[in-house]
Symmetry: C2
Subunit: 250 residues, 2 copies
């Protein structure tokens, strides 16, 4: 088959997906890190993105449940430990709640997901469905957005610290831990995909899985941008105090 | 339990959901029927909504698969027949393809779903997941948006006929057949919900199911409005010829 890529060609194609489709390019992301977001927009971002953070260990448990090899499971389970921590108050989800706490959001309301935008819920749900219904190879490949998180984390953290006086290094503790974890996880997943995508069809499926995942992260920011900048949030969704003021003034 | 509603109170609450959350209120819907949409926006609407139309018989088959009562299944299976028809070229999906054909869209591209917005796919996927994972009562209740389709179909058809010279009565044949089917189907589903929601919890679940379904239809129009009016479509999504012109002129 002439369209079978070498492992390094496949990696190059995957990195191209990141360069063209990862959410470091999204206008709302640029707005967030440049300081242009209102307090309410930062709150809406943190509250909606919580649903994505919270789904990660469940998503990884679905993937774990589909792995027949114990060595593979031993590698993958670390992701769940990183997000859930060793005890209450530790791990990635707890750190994200530190962010929403510091923004003054009610923890119960954040955790219930009730105030999230419908499109956020649908995107997260699509990710869960994807890792359950597609091949294990595609499920692993959908995690490869972590290859690109260094493109966004450092800029986001420095931009938010510089531009929002209510955001401190402690508020953003989630992001301090992530780069090392993401590097370890994405090195492993990339190696897995390069080794296991042995046919052109499998290679195309791996690339499409990463495109899907990028589109899911992009759609979450589209929904925020639409609801809080251009249009109005769904009536049951979070309505920031400053937006309520803005609308009252119209 | 004092918060148990009577059947007619439950119906009233359900009709309130429609009055406040159904997509007859969505700005893109108003734009579509008023003639303000560009040809490309009408095409994007028809192409994206095709995915919703195409999922309906599969969605109804999931519901059918969960019904233990043959009488109930005999009622519900008519929905599948209406959408799939008796033979090739008949039924609701074929009528929707007549619309996309008349708009000059490539049938293969429409049917593949490849050009649909990611958010459209996620919304449709959320609907399929909902009817699979929730109770049968909630799955039935999620079909109740048909109660409200008379609020939108007549206005949409007359508005589109009056305002777009490339749209004819035949183009919109889908909508000619729907009101009678929707009335029959929603009468049955409403009666089912009023009869089977016997606890306050079940009644709340029925109302929430209808809110979910409204949010799903709303999110599809949000995504269209965002991609084709305010921002840009996902790079792999449909890009209308007139929008390509507009962007080239910028």
């Amino acid at each position: 088959m002439s369209d079978l890529l070498t492992a390094s060609q496949l990696e190059e194609r995957l990195r191209e997906v990141g360069a063209t489709r990862y959410h470091h390019l999204h206008p709302f992301q640029l707005r967030l890190q440049s300081g242009a977001c209102s307090r309410g927009e930062v709150e809406a971002w943190a509250l909606n993105r919580y649903l994505y953070q919270a789904c990660i260990p469940q998503k990884d448990a679905i993937i774990l449940s589909r792995m027949e090899d114990a060595q593979l499971r031993r590698e993958w389970r670390q992701r769940i430990i990183d997000h859930d921590g060793e005890r209450e108050g530790e791990g990635g989800i707890a750190k994200w709640l530190k962010l929403t706490d510091d923004l003054g959001l009610d923890r119960g309301a954040v955790m219930s997901g009730e105030l999230a935008l419908p499109a956020t819920k649908f995107a997260v749900n699509a990710y869960m469905t994807f890792v359950r219904d597609r091949s294990l190879l595609e499920a692993v490949a959908s995690s490869l957005t972590e290859l690109f998180s260094p493109m966004v984390i450092a800029t986001r953290v420095s931009g938010m610290l510089a531009n929002y006086d209510y955001v401190t290094q402690e508020t953003l503790a989630y992001f301090t831990a992530r780069p090392v974890q993401a590097k370890r996880d994405s090195d492993f997943a990339l190696d897995y995909c390069k080794t296991h995508a042995r046919t052109p069809e499998q290679q195309r499926a791996v690339i499409a899985a990463l495109e899907f995942k990028c589109s899911m992260l992009w759609a979450m920011l589209d929904a925020l941008e639409h609801a809080y900048l251009y249009a109005k949030p769904w009536p049951d969704a979070f309505r920031p105090a400053d937006q309520a003021d803005r609308q009252a003034a119209e």
